[in-house]
């Protein structure tokens, strides 16, 4: 056992290490909330910067009046990003709904029924998780071009759902595997159909796991970069991709970029704290339970 002094030392080191990891997030938040010219100060201002909503005002196309009233800027201005946030939400919600629906059905079958070659099938699903995104994005670009899905929300929703399917299937299977098979069998003997059992018994019991899966799918869609970069042109862009367009030949709009980044981070932070209990299971595709 550790002595009180050792425990103090351990706590001190732990706070310092996590502090180092937290610093870039803290600094990015301060960039979003400071006036533009203080971004370029040398030595860098870590604590005593001038607080300002200016970057957020430009990103949301509003001005905050002296008395606290909000005024909407007509046309939104050059850095108006609300439509891009809406794009991100549509894509993340849509792809999550699609992936979770399809995966819930499939993983129930994989967990409960005898399927010939099941082991190989599960491993094949895992293999699709190994595909380099670029190996999917290149053919997808040409396929979407033929089907008119380029630059459409539906196209990105499908490809993000596809990207999340291996995770969703394997993770949900692990949650269904936790529910004793005997419950299904008892209901089957009583004459309930598989679908009724699924809907009325198994799904309610696995609802926590389904929610955790949905949160992870949402986050991976929310943060995805390469597919959106490749498969969209003008009519939609999600936050990660549009962030990089703040870099121009005349300089980088760090303040606005940080304000947009912070806006996008906050929902993700809240979501990830909600699923702490199932996070490791999710990150390891259902193979490790906490």
């Amino acid at each position: 056992m550790l002595s009180p002094g050792q425990r103090m030392l351990r706590a001190l080191v732990a706070w310092m290490v996590v502090g180092i990891f937290f610093f870039p997030i803290y600094y990015w938040f301060t960039i979003a909330f400071r006036i533009d010219k203080e971004i370029f100060e040398i030595p860098p201002l870590l604590l005593d910067f001038t607080f300002s909503w200016q970057s957020f005002e430009e990103v949301f196309g509003i001005t905050i009046g002296a008395k606290g009233g909000l005024e909407v800027v007509p046309g939104g201005g050059n850095y108006y990003m609300v439509p891009r946030l809406v794009d991100s939400i549509i894509v993340a919600v849509g792809s999550t709904a699609l992936a979770v629906t399809v995966a819930t059905l499939a993983s129930y079958a994989l967990s409960r029924m005898r399927i010939p070659g099941q082991h190989h099938f599960v491993f094949w699903i895992l293999s699709t998780r190994m595909m380099p995104p670029v190996a999917v994005a290149i053919p997808m670009f040409f396929i979407y071009k033929n089907f008119g899905l380029l630059d459409s929300h539906l196209g990105i929703i499908i490809v993000h759902a596809l990207m999340n399917l291996p995770l969703a299937v394997l993770l949900l299977k692990s949650f269904f595997d936790d529910i004793p098979q005997e419950i299904d069998e008892a209901a089957l003997i009583d004459g309930a159909s598989r679908f009724l059992i699924f809907r009325k018994i198994v799904m309610p019991m696995a609802i926590g796991g389904i929610a955790a899966t949905a949160v992870l799918c949402f986050i991976f869609s929310w943060t995805e970069f390469l597919f959106v970069l490749t498969l969209t042109q003008t009519s939609l862009k999600t936050v990660p991709v549009v962030s990089t367009t703040f870099v121009t030949s005349t300089g980088t709009a760090w303040g606005k970029m940080a304000a947009l980044g912070v806006t996008a981070m906050i929902p993700a932070f809240i979501f990830i704290l909600l699923v702490q209990k199932n996070l490791v299971r999710g990150l390891t595709l259902g193979s490790l339970k906490q």
């Binding site: 870039p24 943060t223 970029m257």
Partner: protein, 300 residues
Amino acid sequence: MTDVPTSVKPPLQRRFISDSAFPWLFPLLALLLVFAVYPFFYNIYLSVHEFVPRRRALEFVGSANWVKLFSDSRMWGALAVTLIYTGVCLLIQLVLGMLIALLLDSDDPGFGFLRGLLTLTLVIPPAVTAMIFLLLEDANFGVMTYYLQALGLLGSNPILANPSTALMGVMIADIWQWTPFMVLIFLAGLRALPPEPFESAVIDGASNWQVFRRLTLPMMSKVIAIAVLIRGIDLFRTFDYVYVMTSGGPGTATYTLSLYAWQQTFSFIKWGYGATLSLFSLIVILVIAHIYVGLTKLKW
């Protein structure tokens, strides 16, 4: 069949109606078929063709793209960069992740909060992480540049514009974002260890290092194997950080296979060659991953 009451169906028929897996799997199979199998074969089709700008059409070129691939020194360079990136990041994340996990494996007040705080890096879009580190490593006003120079650890060369430090500059972003991934997985493993063997080892007078080496590591082997597999795959596929931070530069110092394939396709309109490169990286990762899964006997 009419004389059989509906509630007592023959076993075979009942099985067929209520227990067939096919309807359950159908949506998944349909999606995977259209959007995973078809693109795979489309990739193969593209890899034996090349876009001819003069005719604005794809032309069959046979194995020319594959011959070109194996004699392309930039491809071998990109493969080397990818393997270095994967290996170095994996090793650092593994060691650092284990050390921090051991550090945070405590029930003392505050440690739960610290573990929660550490998970936040995982949900930041990698492209935004790349931007954050672009700012921190900026040659003129970057915090990292400033303090590294103040400590005498960095010369006057900008980190990302210098071929000898650029790759490290990109890897720092990856290491920052994903070391907590390792920490969380290892922590889950550490917390699940049974206490008895450790108690008896302490009674027998084993040193901390002996306990770690002889008990903790072997008992954690499955956890470590899974973490290495998942992280290794993602490192090998890396694209966002290099694309945003350096676009492969300076020169070819930070070209990864994914970035090279992407640029060949979309910047240089070499559709056939780009598809060949992406297929090649797919084959490399699948072969390595399958050997690894076979060796470590991982099961899902």
